[in-house]
Every structure is written in C-alpha cells, then in structure tokens.
C-alpha cells in the first residue's frame, strides 16, 4: 500500500517558522526528536533511531502519572529533506509490535507519511496516517474503493458527530 494513493487518510498540516533543514533534523536526529516528541507533559526517556528503509525509531515516553509507553516507527521510505514514510505502532522495551495497553482493540499499526515543503523561509510539515490492517476484507475494500473515495474521513465523522452526541 502506498501512502500517496491511499485516500483513507487523516491529515494534519502545520507551517513552522523555521527553515526546512532544521525541521527535517528535528525528525531525523534522535536527540532532537527527544526534545519535542509526544503530547504535552510527557518526557521521552528512550530515543534510538536507525534512519534507513527497514530501520526503526524506537522510543519510550513517560507520562505525568509515571506510565512508560513504548512505540516505534519502521521506516519504509526516506527522501531527504522532503519525505518520510513509516509504519507506526505501539511497542515494548524489546522493540516488538504491541497493542495499546489501555485500548487493546485499537489498530495495531498506522501507515504514516511526513512531508516537508519549503515555503519561503518557512516550512510546511504534513503528517498523514491511516490504520494499516491486512485483513482480506480490507484489502478488497481498498481495491474496490480506489479513486472513488473523494470524501475523507473527517467529513464522515462530522456527519456522524450529531448522532454520536445524541447517543452519548
């Protein structure tokens, strides 16, 4: 599956007031990644990177309540300084692929892509991701839905939001 033509994606984009090389370094140097990776309040306590296709980024985050969460990227494509494709999953100390400890039915792996685009002196960073599951049914669904899937996920969720609020 290619992240570029997989339209079943979620997207977040942000423009940083920093040159592209610097933003690229923030994602490709484990020491730099440690300084910002993870949600508010977490501390990255482990950050090991082997930046090459097939290589991994293995990390651990300590949350404010002391819980340590492991995760990893398995890199698929690295095109400096513009693009990185990887599979993101929860992990453990040994570097295995695990499910989320608090949500065991969450998808095992997320296919993710970073793009870095220079916009003058600034940099547009975009992350796209989608659940990566290799069930036969899903493969068939992807094949059948190709090209016709113009409307993204967010639209559906907006449509269903009212319903979910009502059903809460």
């Amino acid at each position: 599956m290619d992240a570029r033509n997989n339209t079943q994606e979620f997207v977040i984009s942000r423009v940083f007031d920093a040159p592209r090389d610097l933003v690229w370094q923030a994602f490709t140097d484990p020491e730099r990644m440690k300084q910002w990776w993870g949600p508010k309040g977490v501390t990255v306590v482990h950050s090991k990177m082997d930046l090459r296709p097939g290589g991994t980024y293995h990390y651990a985050m300590r949350t404010p309540d002391g819980t340590v969460m492991w995760g990893k990227f398995v890199y698929r494509e690295i095109t400096p300084p513009s693009r990185i494709v990887f599979v993101n999953s929860f992990s453990d100390e040994a570097g295995g692929v695990t499910r989320h400890p608090m949500a065991p039915n969450w998808p095992l792996q997320m296919l993710s892509a970073f793009t870095f685009e220079a916009e003058g002196a600034k940099t547009r960073f975009t992350v796209k991701w989608s659940p990566l599951n290799a069930t036969d049914e899903e493969k068939a669904t992807f094949a059948a839905g190709h090209g016709s899937m113009q409307q993204g996920w967010s639209g559906t969720l907006e449509q269903l939001e009212a319903y979910l609020a009502k059903a809460a």
Partner: protein
Amino acid sequence: MADHLSATFAALADPTRRAILARLALGETSVTELAKPFRISAPAVSKHLKVLERAGLIARSREAQWRPARLEAGPLKDAAQWIEHYRRFWEESLDRLETYLKTIQTKEKKRGRTK
C-alpha cells in the same frame, strides 16, 4: 483478540457505506429507502448492509418483514475516539515542536551575535 476497530475502519472505507451510515443517523429505514439516493440496486445495498452489520455498525430488526436497519453507536464511538486520540497526540507534539524550533533558533541567533 479480535480487532474490532479494524473491522470498523474497513467497513467505513467505502463511501457508499459512509453515506448509508449518514442516512441511518437520521433514523432507521428499509433497504428500499436506502437504495433511493444511490445509483445502485437494492441487492447491492443489502451487501453493504451485511458488511456494516458484521462490523457491528448497524443492527437489523428481525421482527418486521422489511427488516429496518439502524445505527449502532458503540463501534462508531470507538473509532471516533481512536482518531481523536491520535490527532491530539500529533497536535500536541507539533505544539511542542514549534516551541522547540523557536528556542533553538533564538539560541543560534544569540551565538551568531557574540561571534
């Protein structure tokens, strides 16, 4: 362990099925009614409903002969919750990255001035 969310996402991957769900959010209805806005046959709609039913996204009444379909909120909520969690993870990481990039650029500028 069964990966319920995978089934949910697979079912949601099809635009017709998403449209069916959006229609069902307005209330339960029959296959015939569901087929109307789409350029597909009632049997095709039935197939989509089967996928949605297997994923637990809808339930179909066995009492009435027209077997009305209705939305089941549970799996949808799980899916929405997962997406929200991952989105928040990224938004907050990127907030921190923004701060980090500002900090190091300020440091580099200061260093440049003392040279």
